[in-house]
Symmetry: C2
Subunit: 134 residues, 2 copies
DNA sequence: CTGAATCCTTTGGGATACTG
DNA sequence: CAGTATCCCAAAGGATTCAG
């Protein structure tokens, strides 16, 4: 049910996108909004991992390799506040916290997967085009 | 043909994504790479417009409303250097330049459209979750 | 173990002015 | 018309340190 306030509806048939933006009257676009959330440096990877199974904080910290505790925490909090990830605290000693995808988060993986497939299929082509001399 | 050098292949069936990242040996991920290109402030809108028909520079400038000549130029150049957009110069007086999607650019609209549909269908839900007290 | 706080650098992006 | 050049600001993100 793609009823929304953003101008034109999407059409998979002719490969158009819903009109996303302030082409006159709208200040923000939910599509760009979602795109920007998902496209920061670590979100995609975290969603990928959490799509497989729940993880604890330090498990993620080890799995991602390169992420700082600060960014891991920040990214997870954002995902949580967007309803894509659930955070469950076990009051053990030492404390343990588990993160898992919400149903909403799981539902996002499907369209994201389509885009990921495209990227995998075409990134060599893009890389080639980028390198050609001017 | 999702043959690539990035670990695990995608699976629409179980909604997993290809392993995107330096979980050990890879420094960059084509998926995140593509996501970041597409998710800057103006790219999605420009791709949307160009998905409908070719545009001239100032046509885009008027259509987008809010974009500066600088960002319009920069964004178009990036899209061009990634092989998503073609730029054709007509040596008229005054000069005229037309931008249109390449076949690669067109092919990107389909998976992007899937993600856009998801965003349209769920942005209200996300907005609601965000606002709930703590 | 699971973070929060602080500081710093890099990048994205807006405003304005100018040119072939 | 189709841009480029400059300057400036705000946001993203890394490094390091500290805490419950």
């Amino acid at each position: 049910m793609s009823t929304s306030n953003i101008g034109v509806s999407a059409s998979l048939h002719d490969h158009r996108l819903p009109m996303p933006v302030p082409v006159g009257e709208y200040e923000r676009c939910p599509v760009t909004d979602v795109l920007r959330q998902v496209s920061d440096k670590w979100t995609l990877l975290l969603l990928t991992l959490l799509g497989r199974r729940p993880y604890r904080f330090n498990e993620l910290h080890r799995a991602v390799e390169g992420i700082s505790p600060r960014m891991l925490s920040r990214t997870l909090r954002t995902l949580e506040s967007d309803g894509l990830v659930d955070r469950e605290v076990f009051p053990t000693l030492p404390p343990s916290v588990e993160y898992r995808l919400t149903p909403l988060g799981v539902s996002l993986l499907e369209p994201l997967s389509a885009l990921a497939d495209w990227a995998v299929d075409h990134h060599a082509e893009i890389a080639a085009v980028r390198q050609r001399p001017s």
